[in-house]
């Protein structure tokens, strides 16, 4: 059935209004329907394509939902131990200063177990791009509390809601790394509407282009939904994200280089 849909007999060239980038493989995404990862993947690969940089780009996949990112992105990639992606990227970039190097990490990976690697890569001003997809939960392992889980938010390890007094408050990693002298461009985006997607892509492109300037690290947070982990329909999860995540994680640029 799925084969019929992409069949060229049915979808004629002249009828095409949109085509996925060649830098995404044809493998079916392992993400839940409704999840923002697919869009985020597409944007990163579209940017690499627009920069004509497939042969100059190395990506790092994390541990988490996007552990298999290398199955979907048609570029050379390394899969890191949990939280260590910025360490891998540091070495690759220093050994190949002319290449584009990026990490693609979730909030458990980047803001919990990989906090040290993240902060120090940012502080050293490594010339890399970090794409940070924040959905406030550990998705892959089944919806446990993450460092980014909102106060009162339920998860399988905060079944009565995140109690800040005993479990700590959610971490705003993006605001935190913006304080460090090594970060050059820090922004928070989303991919839940066409307009948000356009802005997110612009930010990702800037973050990649910045690598050529050699002025420091570019950090792009993408606030996303986890309809499975949040136990909501995709539409409802996006509404919930706008109502609850955005007030705590406001969308927009946090650190913009002076032009």
């Amino acid at each position: 059935m799925a084969e019929n849909i992409v069949n060229n007999d049915i979808i004629k060239e002249e009828n095409l209004v949109y085509k996925k980038t060649d830098l995404l493989t044809d493998k079916s995404l392992s993400y839940c329907p409704g999840c923002g990862h697919g869009t985020a993947h597409r944007l990163v690969m579209e940017v690499v394509e627009e920069l004509n940089a497939q042969d100059q780009t190395v990506g790092i996949a994390p541990v988490g939902c996007s552990v298999l990112a290398y199955e979907f992105m048609d570029i050379d990639m390394q899969q890191a131990a949990h939280g260590r992606a910025p360490a891998l990227a540091t070495a690759i970039k220093r050994l190949y200063p002319e290449k584009y190097v990026f990490t693609y990490q979730g909030d458990g990976d980047l803001a919990a177990i990989g906090t040290a690697e993240t902060i120090h890569a940012c502080n050293r001003g490594e010339n890399i791009t970090i794409i940070f997809v924040n959905n406030g939960i550990y998705g892959m392992t089944g919806g446990q509390m993450a460092p980014t889980t909102l106060p009162g938010m339920r998860s399988s390890t905060s079944p009565y809601g995140r109690e800040v007094e005993s479990m700590g408050a959610p971490m705003k990693m993006t605001e935190l790394v913006a304080q460090l002298p090594g970060t050059y461009f820090v922004t928070r985006q989303a991919v839940h509407t066409p307009s948000a997607v356009r802005k997110a892509k612009k930010a990702i492109k800037k973050a990649f282009e910045n690598q050529k300037l050699k002025k420091g690290l570019s950090f792009v947070e993408i606030v996303s939904n986890c309809n499975s982990g949040w136990k909501m329909t995709p539409v409802k999860s996006n509404e919930w994200m706008v109502d609850n995540m955005f007030p705590f994680y406001p969308i927009g640029d946090i650190k913009v280089p002076e032009e």
């Binding site: 190395v58 048609d74 990639m77 390394q78 890191a80 990227a89 070495a91 050994l95 120090h120």
Partner: protein, 358 residues
């Protein structure tokens, strides 16, 4: 004209790395091996060869930098001492699982825990039997002199790239800190990016139209595939066992007893041989240079003509298990060792030999 220098073992490692054309070193300070990083920072290898040297935020970050660099086909290394090597075990098993060539130096100090900063050989199990999770092996070289610290840098990289496997140099605080005469080799050029692509067609050097994308990972969610991969790893380790055994023998020709010792202990045993022979005890030394692969066959042969074997280690007795396995208990095997950073005297070793066998 040979270039000779008086150097510490740790300095010899660092100079050898620059001269071997190593692309990157990533480290974190810990006694007794901090001279490796200090020497490199002082030498400015980025000016000599373009080598990258970086002080990481932790041992964990350093070994993962090694993973990144190795996955991109470069010659990269790290060094640490026992507690730091424990921290690196996560990265080491990922390196083994992704079949990445690299060099790791352990300048062993006494443990467990924070232990002591004095020399020990109590990380043998960790180095040789695993250390991290899963079925994997490292190629383990045990230098017994500052010259071997120097020489084994290039050797370890040769083996690591030959087999796409991490190599570990298992040294100790005595060899790292002591100064000896070292013959310095020629400066080798670092490989160009084009040469790296040719040597490592599997590395993440950037996907061009001529090939499929390269992926560095240790993950395969399909258990059937994962078993096939594990079988491939085991087959590789078997080839290493068949081809890469290295050892040294001293006065074994007429020996009635045998010391088996590596690293600093083997240096002590050389003096012990002299003391014992003065007393009329014919003893020789068998020194494994590769701890994995362990020199099983030669040790088995030697065991047929001796009355007893004393495994001498600065540990509670770790290598002695491999000695027993090698000789299949056909000759008495005993262990003598000091722990906690104490180095035995040659006289103590002879006394132990007499007590256990005579």
């Amino acid at each position: 004209m040979k270039e000779l220098r008086l150097m510490k073992g740790n300095e010899a490692i660092a100079e050898a790395a620059i001269r071997a054309g190593v692309d990157g070193y990533f480290g974190y300070p810990i006694t007794p091996q901090s001279e490796v990083l200090e020497y490199l920072m002082l030498e400015k290898p980025e000016e000599r060869t373009g080598m990258v040297v970086l002080q990481a935020e932790s041992e964990v970050a350093a070994i993962n930098m090694v993973y990144g660099g190795a996955g991109a086909g470069k010659m990269v290394m790290t060094s640490s001492s026992s507690p730091g090597i424990s921290l690196k075990q996560e990265g080491i098993t990922y390196l083994a699982g992704a079949e990445l060539p690299c060099m790791i130096l352990n300048v062993v100090r006494g443990g467990p825990g924070l232990g002591t900063i004095q020399p020990a050989q109590s990380d043998y199990f960790q180095a040789v039997k695993g250390g991290g999770h899963g079925d994997y092996r490292l190629i383990v070289l045990a230098p017994a002199s500052v010259q071997e610290m120097y020489d084994f840098v290039e050797l370890s990289f040769d083996l690591a790239f030959k087999y796409r496997n991490p190599a570990l140099i298992l040294s100790d605080g005595a060899i790292g800190q002591m100064m000896e005469k070292v013959e310095i080799g020629e400066q080798k050029a670092r490989l160009t990016d084009a040469q790296v692509k040719e040597r490592c067609p599997w590395a993440t050097t950037g996907k061009d139209d001529n090939r499929e994308r390269n992926i560095i990972t240790s993950l395969d969610l399909d258990p059937n595939q994962q078993e096939i991969f594990n079988e491939k790893l085991q087959a590789k380790y078997k080839v290493i066992e068949e081809n890469e055994v290295r050892f040294e023998e001293i006065q074994t020709e007429d020996a009635e007893y045998l010391f088996v010792a590596y690293g600093t202990s083997s240096r002590i045993c050389q003096k012990s041989i002299q003391l014992a022979r003065e007393k009329g005890i014919k003893v020789g030394l068998f020194r494994p240079i590769t701890l994995f692969p362990f020199p099983v066959e030669r040790l088995k042969e030697l065991s047929k003509k001796v009355k007893g074997i004393l495994s001498v280690e600065m540990s509670a007795g770790q290598m002695v298990e491999d000695v027993k396995l090698a000789v299949e208990c056909k000759v008495p095997v005993e262990h003598y060792g000091r722990m906690g950073g104490i180095i035995p005297t040659p006289g103590e070793v002879v006394e132990a030999l007499e007590q256990k066998f005579l």
